[in-house]
Point group: C2
Chain length 233, copies 2
Amino acid sequence: MNKVKTGKLYGIGVGPGDPELLTLKAVRLIKSADIISYPTNQAGKSIAWQIAAPHAPKATKKLGFYVPINVNRAAANLAYDDAAKKISKHLDAGLDVACLCEGDAFFYGSFAYIFERLVDNFATEIIPSMPAFVAASAALKIPMLIQNEDLQIIPATLDEAILIDKIRTGNNIAIYKVGRHFAKLRQILEKFNLLDKANLVEYVSQKQQKVTPMASTNHDTRPYFSMIIINKR
Amino acid sequence: MNKVKTGKLYGIGVGPGDPELLTLKAVRLIKSADIISYPTNQAGKSIAWQIAAPHAPKATKKLGFYVPINVNRAAANLAYDDAAKKISKHLDAGLDVACLCEGDAFFYGSFAYIFERLVDNFATEIIPSMPAFVAASAALKIPMLIQNEDLQIIPATLDEAILIDKIRTGNNIAIYKVGRHFAKLRQILEKFNLLDKANLVEYVSQKQQKVTPMASTNHDTRPYFSMIIINKR
């Protein structure tokens, strides 16, 4: 039987937004991949692709896939099924596919959903990158962890009682998925006298990066691409 | 008055060990710095410098500093005082100093101690990089965070009751500074039926990288440059 050797699937984190925060390894694999795949918004745009594009040879084939984002996961799951099927055809044909992800591929990254659909049938490799919270502490110029401190990374979507418990018991806290939960979070921080220890970081590492002390925000603030970092020391 | 413009201090994370995990930004600044500074062991060796060295021009001046590691912080503080004084002389002379750090400069990084001594007197910039735990999840091929999960990053040096609480309540846990605390951690994981959900990762992203399921370890295991990653899903 004349079976073609299947291709390899790479999950590549492109970092938090600054194109210079790509790793050398990510650049090498973006240059050598046969196919570059990435999630897009409904208009077909992809921040991950924008970061990678300057390193991709013109001949590289692009494979964008739109993933609808809403609380019901069914539509997203169908989109991942479809993307995984398209990617697997290229892998079956012996082509290497680099699947891009903002931040790190395994840190709230969309790649996890492509990965779980393909890991049993193809060779895979994850190229790690820095999650956004690391770039946030660099932007704030406040060390994230020193000595024997801990760090809690939590999504703002948690139940309020759990959120409060994590925020009260951690030395340092990075809150992801802030968006429409901002007013609730601000209220919690105010109640526990933590407004002075917290900062809102928007568009971290990007040109529009904006750092706002939480004490300077109000309940009507509508942050974009943001996280809240709390350092209690 | 003919005052020289002072230099800029860069805190540069070089990543977890694989030289290809350097960012493009780190490489650019390693190339352009007048002085490259880094902590060393007692023999004068530095992993951070080894990672950066291939990118540094031959003329770059090196400034290694030995930091004694023990529970008593007094000796370390004196070493940081001395290193900061030497670095400040170069900054005063108008030279840019890149201070290297394994992992990320603000994530249990030694740079925080240089930074706090110099931030009030000099221009500073932090170049973020990935902490080791991100490379660990890539090595394990287990997503670190999906959907609405949380992640606790904790040092093994915490009081046992706090350790147990964090390990029991988190979805995902990355335990740093494992070393001589290994037997205690293993015991906790066994007690709470978590051995099957935990992995020991040694020398992450380096040639000697070794992944061991915690269930395959025993109390006598003596891990090197290691962390324990727990993913409960």
